[in-house]
């Protein structure tokens, strides 16, 4: 049996039309991960709300994982962060909106803040569903970054637990890495050669990481490596959409400076226009 990586899962809930779907998704995942689910409600506790929630939990058709409900008051982001720390959470699940409009900005900004500060992994669900829609294909980034190894291994773990069958490891090769500007046929040939060299180098790097994946997982999950050319962080979302993947696994962002907030990059692109469910690995 593989090591259990997620033992406590936290979900932030609010009484919205999506409540049932959110709770069902969280319960399902916790059951698959064999983890304890902590549902954190931000807002005043009332008997009516309590009753509603219990009813939803009773409706859950499968075996219930162990679960608790916390009722906290305060700023949503702060409350959830504190809960993650105090409960020693491994995964935080958030129901996000697919695109952050101006009106939805407030909610979006909570998700953003959480993804930046959260000490554990964060899963953003764009379309939680009451029925189970099996996750079958995931995309994970293979950027040259010290966190990439963790992200790829985590992706295998999550997919294996969820019973998904296919994983594409995407290496985004940015134009700057190619370094040769294409002006004419000669420079084009040169840049094609450079690109091929980068591709092989990246491939061997990712393959080294793949040797660390437990046999049982790598056998169960069909995996391939796809180099893509485009803007770092953004293109992988586009790729996931083109390939109709169900889950995108990304590294957590590096330390955020003021610069990063002014000029959106990497994760910011994905967060502002969620292509699929996104798992951010810390």
């Amino acid at each position: 049996m593989h090591k259990k990586e997620y033992s406590t899962v936290v979900i932030g809930i609010a009484f919205s039309p999506n409540l049932k779907a959110n709770v069902f998704e969280a319960l399902r995942m916790s059951a698959l991960f064999e983890a304890t689910l902590v549902m954190v409600h931000v807002g005043e506790k009332s008997a009516e709300k309590e009753e509603n929630l219990q009813k939803i939990i009773r409706d859950f058709p499968q075996t219930l994982p162990s679960h608790t409900v916390l009722w906290r008051v305060g700023h949503p982001a702060e409350v959830l962060l504190n809960a993650c720390v105090s409960e020693n959470a491994d995964l935080l699940i958030l129901g996000a909106l697919q695109r952050e409009g101006l009106l939805k900005y407030y909610i979006g900004s909570i998700a953003r803040k959480l993804t930046r500060k959260c000490p554990c992994d964060v899963l953003l669900l764009i379309k939680p569903s009451i029925e189970r829609i099996p996750c079958s294909h995931a995309v994970v980034n293979g950027l040259e970054d010290k966190k990439t190894e963790a992200a790829i291994l985590r992706a295998f773990y999550v997919l294996f637990s969820l019973g998904a069958s296919r994983l594409t490891i995407v290496e985004e090769i940015s134009e700057d890495a190619v370094a040769v500007k294409v002006d004419d046929d000669r420079s084009l040939r040169k840049s094609t050669i450079v690109k091929e060299r980068i591709r092989l180098r990246e491939k061997s790097r990712v393959e080294r990481i793949l040797t660390q994946v437990p046999k049982q997982m790598s056998a169960a999950i069909q995996h391939d490596i796809q180099p893509i050319f485009g803007k770092r962080g953004y293109s992988i979302g586009h790729f996931a959409r083109v390939k109709r993947a169900d889950l995108l696994v990304m590294n957590a962002p590096q330390a955020n400076s003021l610069w990063d907030r002014i000029f959106p990059h990497d994760l910011e692109y994905i967060l502002s226009d969620l292509p699929t469910d996104v798992l951010i690995v810390r």
Partner: protein
Amino acid sequence: MARPSFFSGIRSNLFAGFVVSLIALPLALGLAVASGFPMVAGVITAVVGGVVVAVFGGSYVTITGPGYGLVVVLLSAVSVLGDGDMYAGYLYALSAVILSGMLMLLFGFLRFGALSDFFPATTIQGMLSAIGVTLLVKQFYVMLGDMKTKGTVLELITGVPDLVKSLQWAPNGQLYAVGVGLISLLIMLFYSSITNRFFRLIPAPMWVVLLALGFDAYFGIVGGENPISKKLLISLPNDMLTTVPSPNFTKWTEPIFWGFVISITLVSSIESLLSIKAVDKLDPEKRRANINKDMRALGLATIVSGFLGGMNVGTVISRSSVNVNNQATNRSSNFFHALFLLLFVIVFQDQLGRIPFTSLAAILVYTGYKLTAPAIFVRMYRIGKEQLFIFLTTLISTLLTDLISGILIGLVATFLVHVLLNKAFWLFSRNLIKPNVLMYKETETQSYYVGVIHFCTFLNFYKLKAKLDMVPQTEKVVVDFTLCSFVDHTVQESLHSYEELFVRKGGLVEIIGLDVLETDSSHPFAVRTLRPVQRLRVFSLGKTRRQQQLQALAQEKKWSFIESPTVQTRQLRSFLGYETTSVERVLNQLSSPCEQLSLFDIKYSEGVFIAKESVQTTLLRVVLNTRIPVFSFDREQLLEKLSHLAGFHDIDFPQHPAFSDAFFVRGYDPKLVRNFFTNDLVSFFTAYGFYHISCNGTELVVRQFLRPATPAEATALIEFGIALKKKIDG
């Protein structure tokens, strides 16, 4: 590939250079006069351009020299800056020319070669037509012997009847000149429709010069004076090659001066860039010009030319195409054209002085007419009413104000039209700065996939272009607009020239995803917008290029083709892997005569409500005569989805372990499916393993990608369907 030496193929280049210089001579003289520059300036421009660009340039068979577009801007620079004094204005204009050369040099170093890509195609056309109108009207006056007229274009146009009337009192000296001018215009107009081989040996502008010289020679032989008055004959100063004017930079503090510098640079770069790109398509050796290097060479040449008293050096399309037609192979022909030009001016200085201004003006009237011909208006209208609107807006505002304001108004108009067409400003405002292009090499087909999202217009075309430029033009590229909701005319026109370039080099650009976007025009490059489904009834009249290709495919196979979307009653749910789909629309349907085989683009959604996902793809449907077991076959488990929940499992084939490992075959009854897959079928399916096949017992659906198929892929799919049906039905 070895770099061809500068002097290789010297004979053909020498000849090409000679022919080009025959055209370049009258043009150089005429363009200089029309710009308000001394006549010799045109020759200086062409000579300096020919020498400098031949040495430093980055293109192969282009010819450089004074351009048409510049005439209008330079003339207004000379008259405005000189404030009436033409010579003083000329010296000021020279300094503007030198500064614009420096700007172009800078652009070249900063790699702004793509400058012209930032302007919508229609706006550029509008600007060029405005230049054409100005050239046409101003030179029309000169052609009728009126050298002094000033005024705005509109005043000049309304003054034409008076001008024609005034001819009846004109002195004979002027009337003869007008006669020569009019005959010259007729030569220019009808040259292309005369097929006589000997007549075609000499290019049209040279005929105009020969006509003028012949006219003069006739009076020389009969012993009289040339009846054209001296004032209307061109005159080259004797010391033209020894005295160098000194440019006057003293106006550099005035904003209007910089306005001219910018307009000159803009017009010169745009004209050159358009020409370089056009010549790339003519080059028989299919080389790709280094645009930035060429820009640097043009900038340098312009600086030198300005200091010697010449105009901006630009790349010129008509002279370049004559160059290519005369078998030029490299830049040395440009150099030879410069040498011959210099030689002509020195040797025939006396003869050149017998050419009347009116004949040179006739050449420019014709050029101006070509830039603003009614055919251009008709073409704009065909592409779409909104394009005609943008075109006219740019044209008129350029005429009424100046070039920079005109082109800015054109830009704004284009953007507003796009917003109105989409009825959504947010589409542009929200997605403008987001990167919108993804490129990767599809591992299965080894072709490049370029996906575009949100919208694609002149505003962000450069991003797509940067990706396309990185693909070797011998490869296959699929440009996918399925996730795009708006694609404008500029993008489609530019993509079309990519299609041509790739085909010339043995590659292929295929565009998919435009068919579902709607248009009101029948032109293949019309703007296309995604509109709500309920408006589908009034679907487009126009076919995209992909639709045209599919139609050609249908004709070749003698199949029927219906491109308009049909209301779909037939569903896919009986097929394994398509259980949760709900068909939204079917279009571009190709059907075999008995409807046993059909290929169609389909849009269906999977799942319901929030889990709903839309898919656009191309399916092949095969109706079988025999009944076979229900099964699905694919390599990537994409058809799996829900089937394993319903108790379907991967069927093993003990006799074919390799096949069993590589593919996923599912079915109700493993035994029946195993029996159905005979050795023969196993090897057949293995060979076509990249298709996803699903069978409901009597029909098969086959799919390759989760995106619409390109015409080439559609052809392959049909061939596969025919072979498959034969295999199963026997």
